[in-house]
Assembly symmetry: C2
Homo-oligomer: 438 residues x 2
């Protein structure tokens, strides 16, 4: 029997227990941070030499120079060609589907002639440009996922990013052929087998060999996260991701085994992953609990799943589906399954979620790999204020402001009044110069 | 004579000198950071009591409770009504223009039926939702700008943010009526007269009185910046802004006084502000230098302007306008003036800039107040990867994934293959359950 928490929204202390269940603040470990600060400063100062040194030390690689830490496009293509046919076909199909969904995302620029009185000839707008160069961090070891390479690299490629540089540590020299094959499919331009804070530093500051990038994306361990946090501002970064979560809202009519397995699929990531079921049907919750107990022993990663479910999982009984939606908004889950007969009708009530899976057949696992939308999603409630990774993360906007002589006369008076009010007389005079008739 | 640097792109060490001129990395002062960490922890633990205590200590206010630190909507409206008529009209007109520009920015959701073979009944898309609650930090003292209140609050309001909470410190109890009037015009819902790391903490964690927000925007000093950096992840934040910059590209045919004053308007912000002129016309550069010398003594803020121009300003001679555009892309300036006869034609060459002012009459000062686009722009070269503040910063996306039984069969095989390849069998089985015919 697995000891997964049972909550009911009718409990007097329900919201306190729910908040305790959700509480997760990534510890910002001072010793990690100090170590990262030293590595960043060293790579900034010494470039390649420092990166090679840290890679020898941390990854146990007997390399003498950065040139030994770059993979060629040939090696990527060979990895792709060398995959078993079924894997190669699946990866290729997934890449195509992800690309097609993301091709609907690019932002478009716009401009318009200012229609107000006294503004004739004035044009305002927004210009959209891709980033020049992006760095993609791919973890080594157990969390090295080819699907993540696709999900991070394809949106950048669709955005029109000029150059995509991937870094992936290869501790003890071990390469993951699926990861390299994904890099080939996703259009990665260069791959360096480096990792940790030293790889983040190389991308952020540039070295003799590694070109400086404009933004760094991709998941990593505590050192990578701390390094990204520190270089934020010098380069752009994506969200620092927390543990993964799923929230399943079920009306009680989905096969309990399906729901149990969906909860497992989140829990198998790591011991901190969070899997929660919300249902108004108490009998159904018992059936899912029974399915969990029955299926768990059959799972290869049962120890991880058990730990995650016991630490952070929950089965929550609610009054009705409206309340389930309210709780979903409070949790703002990374993944939300609406395992409901009339899922589309409940969709309108959902304000905060990274990805919403609609209907009993929409399992998170399909979205993780090949439905098309991105699997890099806001975690730990950050769907309250952020979005899935997308093409828009690799584009940026510039405001366009063309002002005619007439427009300058109209605006100049307003600007000068406000500038004097703010104690900024040079702003005011700059505006006043443009008041004169031609 | 003001000692502003002169560079020429033909100098052998030009790019090294340019990089040195641009170098600016916000010091992350350890003592500031430690102090901020302690304040955040304290406010998180003790709520209102801690905020009141810090406000008494740092702002010298003799208050006993948080209720004395909230301003009513009445007080905001009185501040607006009490402004001199010309200021009130200018502020109102600016707010209208900013609102109208931003009304063109909201993101729209979309969805589509998956057209691929074997996917009938599958729908993919993106849902767009506003943030529930946003915090707006407004500095007290000399950098307290009503225009910034408009520029931060109006996009949030246009996005449909549910509640907008402003914090503004009032050291020694001094209120800025223009700031309060701007809050009234921009639709701010609640105003607390608190500041510093304690205000950031109150917004990020919530207290008994201050509601927890989903995102914090707005400029602040080193303590505010450090606090925002630390709470990033718990709430969203906007960019941590560096000193302001302007780059003017001029063909040599704009009135040198106009260009000098535009450089001043940036330099008057503070000693670290950066003003750079790039021109292919050496004689014109000399005329601007002469205008600077002649006009500087007439400026009330001449000491700040002189320090900024001598520290970080430059007049750069280039071979031609094409090279000027290349240099602009390398600098990725916050503000770029194309003070050119055929400015529209050069626009296509500009990839990186926060706001682009097109034509001789488009001075930055007009954009700062009332052209319409936002004046919160990426600084210190971050226009390489980020955008002006906009409505889109107060909206977020959720992926929509509705999968039909047919779609689940098509996708399930791909997903299962990849999941087994990644060593995630629960993912695979969750997909495989959905392979069965109905």
């Amino acid at each position: 029997m697995i000891a997964i928490k049972r909550l009911a929204s009718s409990d007097s202390d329900f919201y306190a227990r729910l908040d305790a269940l959700l509480a997760f603040e990534a510890a910002q470990d001072q010793s990690v941070d100090d170590c990262v600060a030293a590595i960043l400063a060293d790579v900034k100062a010494r470039g390649d030499a420092a990166v090679v040194e840290y890679t020898r030390r941390f990854d146990g690689l007997g390399v003498a120079s950065m040139s030994q830490l770059e993979l060629s496009q040939d090696e990527l293509q060979r990895a792709l060609a060398g995959l078993p046919a079924e894997q190669r076909a699946a990866l290729t199909r997934a890449a195509e589907r992800v690309r097609r969904y993301h091709e609907r995302q690019p932002l478009q620029g716009w401009q318009y002639e200012d229609p107000e009185d006294g503004m004739r000839g004035t044009m305002l707008g927004q210009k959209v440009t891709p980033l020049d160069r992006v760095g993609l961090y791919v973890p080594g070891g157990k969390a090295s996922y080819p699907s993540s390479v696709l999900m991070n690299a394809i949106p950048a490629h669709v955005a029109g990013v000029g150059e995509l540089i991937m870094v992936v540590p290869t501790p003890a020299g071990e390469h993951n052929p699926l990861v390299l094959a994904a890099a080939a499919l996703a259009g990665v331009n260069r791959v360096f087998t480096i990792g940790g804070a030293q790889a983040v530093a190389a991308l952020a500051y540039g070295t003799e060999t590694v070109p400086q990038v404009d933004k760094i994306v991709g998941p990593g361990n505590a050192y990578v996260a701390a390094a990204k946090r520190r270089v934020f501002g010098i380069v752009g970064i994506d969200m620092v991701a927390g543990p993964s979560e799923i929230l399943v809202i079920c009306d009680g009519h989905t096969d309990p085994d399906w729901v149990a397995m969906d909860l497992f699929s989140q829990a198998e990531h790591d011991e901190l992953a969070q899997s929660i079921l919300v249902s108004p049907d108490a009998v159904f919750i018992d059936r899912v609990a029974a399915a969990i107990d029955r299926l768990l022993p059959t799972m290869p990663r049962r120890e991880v799943i058990r730990a995650a479910l016991e630490n952070r999982g929950a089965l929550i009984l609610v009054r009705d589906l409206a309340e389930a939606c309210e709780i979903a908004n409070r949790i703002a889950p990374e993944h939300l399954e609406l395992s409901l007969a009339d899922a589309d009708e409940w969709l309108g009530r959902i304000r905060h979620a990274g990805a919403i899976f609609i209907g009993r057949h929409a399992s998170e696992s399909l979205g993780d790999y090949c439905a098309g939308p991105n699997h890099v999603l806001p975690t730990s409630g950050s769907a309250r204020f952020s979005s899935p990774l997308g093409v828009y993360d690799f584009q940026k906007r510039s405001s366009l402001i063309r002002i005619s002589p007439a427009g300058a006369r109209t605006l100049g008076r307003i600007a000068a009044t406000l500038a004097y009010g703010e104690g900024l007389p040079a702003h005011a005079r700059s505006a006043e110069y443009r008041l004169a008739e031609d």
